[in-house]
């Protein structure tokens, strides 16, 4: 079983902080607006503090989840299928047979790029888990994985992909 590159942790933490920041900003901002318009609550400052508390909780929660996610994530390039294990709360284990691969992408988001990581996305014709992403890969490993999957998909050729 292969783990992700440890550098993906700061990526996820950054994203978690950014998202929590947005959510918290909206919460606290909303609370402040409601408090300002005194005809509604009479300007109770406790509302703002409650919003701050919720925002702080969201931040801690998201960061904890992002931290934990790395420990759960693993994948395995098996003989006839790709195996992926992930999910902090809902544990998801996916088996994707190579015959079913439609195409494979490499993606690099802005945060990922800043630490030099890449994501490989695998597409099948399925209806539910039609695309599976393996994040946090060294670009070389991503390239290698993509090539490997492509080779394996062609090797298991001959059958209709649907």
């Amino acid at each position: 079983m292969e783990r992700l590159d440890p550098r993906v942790r700061p990526v996820w933490l950054t994203i978690a902080v950014i998202r929590a920041g947005f959510a918290g900003g909206f919460l606290v901002g909303g609370a402040a607006i409601v408090t300002e318009s005194t005809d509604w609550t009479g300007g109770d400052v406790r509302l703002i503090w409650a919003a701050v508390a919720v925002a702080a909780f969201v931040l801690v929660f998201r960061v904890a989840v992002a931290w934990q996610r790395y420990r759960v994530w693993r994948f395995d390039v098996r003989e006839d299928s790709l195996y992926i294990e992930r999910g902090v709360f809902t544990r998801i284990k996916t088996v994707v047979p190579y015959v079913r691969l439609q195409h494979v992408d490499t993606q690099r988001g802005p945060v990922e790029r800043s630490v030099g990581l890449a994501t490989v996305v695998i597409y099948t014709a399925g209806s539910r888990s039609a695309d599976v992403a393996i994040p946090g890969l060294d670009p070389e490993r991503a390239e290698e994985l993509r090539e490997e999957l492509r080779r394996l998909a062609i090797e298991s050729e001959g059958e209709d992909a649907v």
């Binding site: 006839d80 299928s81 999910g87 709360f89 809902t90 544990r91 998801i92 284990k93 996916t94 088996v95 994707v96 047979p97 015959v99 079913r100 439609q102 099948t124 014709a125 399925g126 209806s127 539910r128 888990s129 039609a130 599976v132 998909a153 062609i154 298991s156 050729e157 001959g158 059958e159 209709d160 992909a161 649907v162």
Partner: protein, 607 residues
């Protein structure tokens, strides 16, 4: 892009020299460069060499029904499609301008009205001109292994669909179209989100011919090197199912059509002249019953419910009126509809999943329904309701028999989830009831809308019953060639998934499931599942067993793929033996054909 060479079940053409060329379209071979210029003339059949080639628009302003010969000749739409399309376009643009006009000039000033009227007329004229140009530009051609369509007024598009890739072909006709003798043809492949080809509109006999030819797949040469003519082959059509009046009645009475409530609202508001009070027999209320407020609301709700129900029944009735399911060599064909007539084909070798659905009122009468899912429609595609490939309602035994005729399988006894799953459902329902009780208690203490909050405690009695029903209606079975999964009490759905259709296997475990060592396993297929919505999932089974199921599903898939490959090699050898020396010429021809179809595929994927 998908590939389908299921020679094993393809009764129509599996034993032909063409199957020997299957290798030509595998992904690794798709590197040859597209040759757009050659596509138009290369594939001409000797049989109809005289009238080949792209016809200039003015040569054949009309397509007489008799002229639909076998040759790959370019064909136009039915001329009646110009007025019909113009009319439907005019109605929509006209009403659009009409509403804009109403909004823009509430006072109805004369000058404004004239201006708006002029705009409407101009809009309609432009629409008619566009439709005429559309008709002039639209050309389609059925070659021996592709279906080519050239269309577009402003931006032009040439599309070639390899016949092998076609998943579904539907023909739709509404009342007006039936009077005009025209029909719309929709061709679906597995790729892309929308319908790949839409012919609006062709002659109805032509539509049926196209449907038959498109579903037959690539055409084979006969012994004297010619392609066979179209034979009017209705002969081996086997009637599988025809909806009975009582089935239609039950279906109409108990189906809740989501559109009906909207329609009922509109109809009621028109009927009452935008004043709901007129619908309520006020004099009756005033004389007999005090407390008119609540009673009036009750009346309104009742009238609305009845109106929605009647409309829903009427819609369902017209939708499934005259439902017939027949089978012609390796293909299911259905027809239905009173006002809007639908007919579609489902190639048996492209079936992804079978779904048997037994919803509650129907199950009590001993009825169920069957859906045959293919990969033809993209998930969430809104228009796909028109072509759903299902037997809407039939007696349970007939449903099983029909399922058997599609996939030779009987639904076995299913493996139950462990008892701790039932506890889980009990806890879940208990929490729901507890929340309800708490909510009503809060309402009772703070307001005086609710008084007897403790009445909701009665619901607690239902908790164990509901948990048990949910538990007993769930189950799965891992067969040698099929995976069965059942769930749902109100809408009990049993999915039958052939192992070799599995796209991926997903093991899912929430934190609540983890506490009880349970997990769910989903066998995902490429089925569009637009109608029944769910993939085949075994819910809340022991997590060790779940891992085992996941592993086994993958193993069986691989095993079946090996078998099918083996079978194909055998088939190929068998056909080689038959063809031998004199057929050499033809083999090269086939190779060329396949090369071509892989070209066209590339071109198709560029769109």
């Amino acid at each position: 892009m998908t590939e389908d060479h299921d020679t094993e079940r393809e009764t129509g053409s599996g034993d032909s020299p063409h199957s020997s060329g299957d290798e030509g379209v595998r992904p690794s071979d798709r590197t040859s460069t597209p040759e757009p210029s050659e596509g138009a003339t290369r594939d001409d059949a000797p049989a109809s060499g005289a009238n080949d080639g792209p016809a200039p628009p003015n040569d054949e302003p009309e397509t007489p029904p008799g002229a639909v010969s076998a040759g790959p000749k370019e064909q136009q739409l039915h001329p009646a499609s110009v007025p019909y399309r113009s009319l439907s376009r005019s109605v929509s643009t006209g009403s659009l301008f009409f509403f804009i006009g109403i909004v823009a000039s509430p006072g109805g000033a004369g000058a404004n009205l004239v201006l708006i009227g002029a705009m409407v007329v101009v809009g309609i004229l432009v629409g008619i001109a566009y439709e005429f140009a559309y008709y002039q530009r639209f050309r389609y051609r059925l070659t021996n292994d592709t279906f080519d369509v050239a269309s577009g007024v402003v931006s032009r598009r040439d599309r070639e669909v390899p016949l092998r890739r076609i998943q579904n072909v539907d023909v739709r006709q509404n009342v007006l179209q039936r009077a005009l003798g025209i029909a719309a043809v929709h061709v679906e492949t597995a790729g892309g989100g929308a319908t790949e080809v839409t012919l609006q509109y062709v002659d109805e006999t032509e539509a049926r011919r196209l449907q038959r030819r498109l579903r037959d797949g690539p055409r084979e040469r006969t012994e004297n090197g010619e392609f066979p003519e179209d034979e009017a082959d209705e002969e081996d059509e086997e009637l599988l199912f025809e909806i009975q009046p009582n089935e239609l009645a039950i279906l109409s009475a108990f189906t809740i059509d989501p559109g009906a409530s909207v329609l009922a609202t509109i109809a009621l508001s028109f009927a009452s002249g935008f004043d709901p009070a007129t619908l309520i027999p006020l004099d009756f209320i005033e004389t007999d019953l005090p407390g008119t407020g609540l009673v009036a609301i009750a009346w309104a709700v009742l009238i609305f419910a009845v109106a929605a129900w009647v409309l829903s029944a009427a819609l369902t009735f017209t939708r499934y009126y005259g439902f017939r399911l027949t089978r012609t060599n390796g293909e299911l064909r259905y027809e239905r509809g009173l006002l809007q007539r639908y007919s579609g084909t489902i190639p048996l070798e492209k079936v992804q999943t079978l779904t048997i659905k037994e919803s509650v009122p129907f199950r009590w009468f001993g009825y169920g329904s069957l859906a045959v899912e293919t990969a033809g429609y993209a998930p969430g595609q809104s228009g796909s309701r028109g072509a759903e490939s299902a037997v809407p309602l039939a007696e349970a035994g007939r449903v099983r028999e029909l399922a058997r005729s599609v996939e030779p399988v009987e639904v076995p006894d299913l493996e139950r989830s462990p008892r701790r799953a039932r506890e889980r459902y009990g806890v879940r329902y208990f929490l729901v009831v507890a929340a309800l009780v708490a909510g009503s208690y809060a309402l009772a203490t703070t307001t005086d809308v609710v008084v007897d909050w403790y009445v909701t405690l009665v619901l607690l009695v239902l908790v164990p019953v509901a948990a048990h029903l949910k538990w007993t209606n769930r189950g799965f079975h891992l067969g040698d060639t099929y995976f069965f999964a059942r769930t749902g009490f109100w809408r009990r759905t049993t999915k039958i998934v052939p192992h070799y259709r599995v796209q991926s296997v997903v093991y899912n475990q929430t934190i609540f499931q983890r506490r009880r060592r349970l997990a769910s396993v989903t066998a995902d297929t490429a089925s569009s599942a637009a109608f029944f919505g769910r993939a085949g999932t075994a819910y809340d089974i022991d997590h060790g067993r779940a891992l085992e199921v996941q592993r086994t599903l993958n193993e069986r898939l691989q095993e079946q793929l090996r078998q099918r490959k083996h079978q194909r090699v055998l088939d190929r050898l068998a056909t080689r033996d038959w063809s031998d020396e004199p057929m050499r010429d033809e083999a090269t021809q086939d190779e060329r054909d396949d090369e071509r179809s892989s070209d066209t595929e590339d071109r198709g994927s560029l769109e």
